[in-house]
Each structure stands twice: as structure tokens, then as C-alpha cells.
Amino acid sequence: MSLLAISEQAINGLIIGSFYALTALGLAVIFGVLRIVNFAHGELYMLGGYAYYLAIASLGIPPLAAILIAVAALFVIGAAIEGLLIRPIHTGKIDRPDEYAIMITFALSVFLLNLANSVFGPWPQRPEPLMRGRVEIGELIISGDRLAAASAAIVMIAIVVFALRYTWAGKAVRAVSQDRQAAEIYGISVQRAGLIAFGTGAALAGLAGALIGPVFNVVPIMGVVPVIKAYIIVVLGGLGSIPGAIIGAIILGQVESFATILIPDPSRALAYKDAYGLIVLVAVLLLRPQGLFGTKDRRA
């Protein structure tokens, strides 16, 4: 394999990895604070894509502003979901909270997916990208829309990591994810942290959807595959671990990018492309359930 091909695959992997990281980061933030896996995460990602598409197509808003609108809209949707469906878990209104959390988010994903199918129709839409054209670095050619989307993703990841570390709200969220009761004793509103976490998680998923929409089309089922990647990543990195989610995403992006060109029978390699990560997920859960960076607690 030539150096050019290797760097092409590496950059492809990095671009894909940055989208994965954005989606996975949202899952990790939600899990960290609320101790639940959001099985409707893929549909929030899809809604982000539609919010972006609609803002441009029906309101005539420029792409960059449309991105912000999609993020804000998903934050509100996420906060509403938290307030209506997730909060009862933590206020003792639910008999079997573990089971409820899994089923309610799974049911929510069924609901949202079919809602999008009904409202928007099952056909794909292609919104305007952030940037057109392509970028050439020597012999290496990268399409502009992908590069812009990946850069926006990386900037957003940096902002979230920074905000978690240095802002008051971020510290509150981290405190709650480390010790719910202690955080409460120290006057942090656990409920507000939960709301912020789910809103932020949804906004991150929405942003990912909005950024990828122009690259791979906006369509109701667009979240089904990426969310499974996000599951793999958060399990790989350790559920609830933010650095774990980022590193997991980079690993998965590279694995998938190279796995497809390293396996001899191309058609079969492509068919099994989505299975490699899943095998990794099963293996990690069985051998090291806490992931590469997570805490030891396996009972979520």
C-alpha cells in the first residue's frame, strides 16, 4: 500500500472518527450524570439533521446559523425528554428504574423514527453543506464539506471538554457524575445537572446529525447505524468516560477505515464492515466491562 493511500485512509478515519466522537460524547455525558444509556440517541442525531435541513430549506437561513439553530433545538428537545420521561426515575416514581430507563428510551426511538417517517417522508434530503469545493494538500484531496464538518466537530468537542472542566455548570455536571449524593449535599441541583446533561447530550447528537446531513443525506433512518457506532465507542472507552469516548471514536474510525482495505475479499469485507465494531463491543463487555477508561461499576 502506498503512503498516499495510507494517509488517505488515515484522514478518512479521522474525519469519520470526529463525527463518531461527537455522537458518542453526547451518550457519555448523559450516562455520566443520569446513569442511563440513551437508546434514542440515534434519533436525536437524525432530528439534528432535519432541524438543519429545515432551517435552510424552509427558513432560508445560512448554513452556519442553521447549525446553531439545530443545536439549540435539540438542546430543548433533550431537556424536554429529560423532564418528562427520565426525571421520574430519579424521583422514585418508577418501580423498576433500570428496566424502565432502557425500555422508555428504546420506545422513544421507535416513536421518533416513525414520526420522522410520517412527517418528513422516508426519502432522503440533501441540505446545503457548510463549505463547497475541495481542499488539496499535495496529492491528497479532501472534499470541503467533509473537512468543514469534521473541523466543526473537533471545535465543538474541544468546547465541551473545556466547558466541563472550567465552567460552573460543567463542574456541577462532573460532580454529579462522580457522586450524586455528595453533589446534592454540596448544594448542586442534581435535577438541573440532569437536565443540562440530557440537553447537552441531545445537542451534541443533533450537531453531529446537522454536520453529517449534507455529507450523507438527511433521512429518518440516518441515526440507526451511527448510534450503534456510538454504543461501541462508549463501551470501548468506558461508559460515562469523556476522554474514553473521544479515544474510542478515534480507534473505531481507524479500525473501520483500514479494515475495509486490508481484507482481501472486498465485497465480503464491506458486508461485514459494521460487524467488526460490534465484535469489539461484545469482547470489551465480556473481558473488560469497565472499558479502557471507565469506572468498575457494571450495573447500569
Partner: protein
């Protein structure tokens, strides 16, 4: 009249109703629909056996059904098994794979178990799609019919008989000491072990039994519709099964089965509103989970019991 007696009377009435249903002027189309309803009833009940009684969540049930469908079809096509044996083969294969899944996930709980079963189901679905030479991939596999040249009515009664037989077998199992072990594991694994329950074994066995019934259901379905595709193993399909069991009431195999039948019939009855059916089902599932965790039939039976108690 005791509650148990009341329950058997309602069960018997339901059975009679389903036996007589085709004579109530059921069109060919509706006979077909209700027959598919039996498939979903069995599948939803098999899921509730695992989730409702043992407290082990699985998102691989649709994949197990598909596995059974392909196992039976390929057993008949490739090894020349008679169809009856093909169905047994389907149940065995799904049961065996279920046992392995149960064993692999012994130490996992809650969301971790959910994620692992999703991954497991997806790996099965992807493999079936990828192995073209055997399964025809996403084009779908032509499956020989259960009864060559059989009428809709014949299929209806075969499905009814097998569904009732399976539900009775599950009911007997759950009323035996094994059912008690299952529930003790759902309530508290450590507590169950401290009282002598072989928790590890029963967790695996529960996965195996639940999967075997799902595999059998999938096998029957394959030989009825005569064309199966990997989409029957998808997470979307799993969502439908979950909605059926939850809306019916997943803490009771009969309620879950009725939920499967109810949703299948409604899906056909509401064909004009297309995708909105599934939107409504998704919404109802959420509302049931939040406000009526025993499901619609569980809620009905609670209201009924309470009224009788207050009357006398």
C-alpha cells in the same frame, strides 16, 4: 369464585373465541392477518418470559426469530429435513445460541446487557445478510410452504394450535418451581443464590428457552409467508416486539401475547394512516411504560379485581 378460576374461564373463553373466529365470516385477508398475529403473540410472549419473569433484558429476540426462520428454511432446503423436523431444528439452534448468549452475558446487567444483546443481534443479522451464497442476502430466501397447497384456514388452525400449545407449555413452566426460581433471580440474584437457587444455570436456561420459542415462531413464520429477509432481524422489528409486549403487559406471558395479537390486528386495520400507526404505537408504549407498567391487559385485570373486591 377465586381469581385463578376466573383466569381459567377467561383463558378458555379466549380460546373458544379464536377457534370460532373463522366461522364469524372472517375474510381470507383477515384470516391471514390473524395468523401472522399468532406469530407475534408467540414472539412477544417468548420475550416477556425472559424480560418479565427473569428480569434479563434482551434486544436479540427478533434476531433469534430470524435465526429460527433461516435455520428451518435451510434445514429443509439444504439437508432435506421434513418441515416438522425443520421447525424442531429451528428451536434447537435458536435455543443453543440463546444459551450461549445467556452464558456470555451472565455478569452483565441493565444497559450493559441491553447493549450486548443489541450487538449480538446485529452481528447475527449482518452475518445472514453477508452470507449470500447460503441465505440470498437481503434479496430474501424462498422458503417451502408448511402445507403444500394449504388453505388460509389450515394455516390459521395450525398456528392457533401451536401458539396455544407453546403458551400452555410456558405457563406450566412458569408455574413450576422453575418459574419461582426465575422470579427470585429477577428480584434479587444474591438473595436467590443464598437460598440454594442455581442462579447461573437458570439464567442461561431462561435465555435458551426464550430463544427457542422465538426460533420456533420464526420457523413457522418462514414456512407461512414463504419469503424471509434479514430485515425480520432488525432493531426496528425488535422495537415492534417490545411495543407489543409492553402495551399488552410484559409481566405476564398471556398479556404480552394478547398485545402481539392486538397490535398486529390494529396494524392491518389502520393501514390507511400508514406510518402514523407506528408513531401512535411508539407513543402508547411510552405512556404505558410511564403510567401503566403492567400493560393494558394488566391494568384491565387490576381494575376488574379491585371492583370485584369492593363489591364483595
Amino acid at each position: 369464585m377465586s381469581q385463578a378460576a376466573l383466569r381459567s374461564i377467561i383463558g378458555a373463553a379466549l380460546l373458544v373465541a379464536f377457534v370460532l373466529l373463522p366461522f364469524a365470516g372472517l375474510s381470507d385477508y383477515w384470516t391471514y392477518t390473524v395468523t401472522i398475529g399468532f406469530y407475534y403473540a408467540l414472539l412477544a410472549a417468548s420475550w416477556s418470559l425472559l424480560v418479565g419473569y427473569v428480569g434479563r433484558i434482551s434486544f436479540a429476540q427478533a434476531a433469534m426469530s430470524g435465526l429460527g426462520g433461516y435455520a428451518s428454511a435451510l434445514g429443509v432446503l439444504e439437508f432435506g429435513l421434513p418441515i416438522g423436523l425443520g421447525l424442531v431444528f429451528a428451536a434447537l439452534i435458536a435455543g443453543l445460541v440463546g444459551y450461549v448468549l445467556g452464558w456470555l452475558t451472565l455478569r452483565l446487567h441493565g444497559a450493559y446487557l441491553g447493549l450486548t444483546t443489541i450487538a449480538f443481534g446485529e452481528i447475527l443479522r449482518i452475518s445472514v445478510t453477508a452470507e449470500h451464497w447460503l441465505t440470498e442476502g437481503s434479496l430474501g430466501l424462498q422458503v417451502p410452504p408448511l402445507i403444500p397447497g394449504g388453505s388460509r384456514l389450515e394455516y390459521y388452525y395450525i398456528f392457533l394450535a401451536i401458539t396455544v400449545g407453546c403458551l400452555a407449555a410456558m405457563g406450566l413452566l412458569l408455574r413450576s418451581r422453575i418459574g419461582l426460581f426465575f422470579q427470585s433471580i429477577r428480584e434479587d440474584e444474591d438473595g436467590a443464590a443464598s437460598l440454594g437457587v442455581a442462579v447461573t444455570t437458570w439464567k442461561c436456561v431462561a435465555f435458551a428457552i426464550s430463544s427457542a420459542f422465538a426460533g420456533l415462531a420464526g420457523g413457522l413464520y418462514a414456512h407461512f409467508v414463504q419469503l424471509i429477509a434479514p430485515s425480520m432481524m432488525s432493531l426496528q422489528e425488535m422495537g415492534v416486539i417490545l411495543a407489543m409486549a409492553v402495551i399488552g403487559g410484559f409481566h405476564n406471558i398471556l398479556y404480552a401475547a394478547l398485545g402481539g395479537m392486538l397490535l398486529q390486528v390494529l396494524l392491518e386495520a389502520l393501514r390507511e394512516v400508514e406510518q402514523w400507526r407506528l408513531v401512535v404505537f411508539g407513543l402508547v408504549t411510552i405512556l404505558v411504560l410511564r403510567f401503566a407498567p403492567n400493560g393494558l391487559f394488566g391494568m384491565l385485570s387490576n381494575i376488574f379485581v379491585r371492583r370485584r373486591n369492593s363489591d364483595g
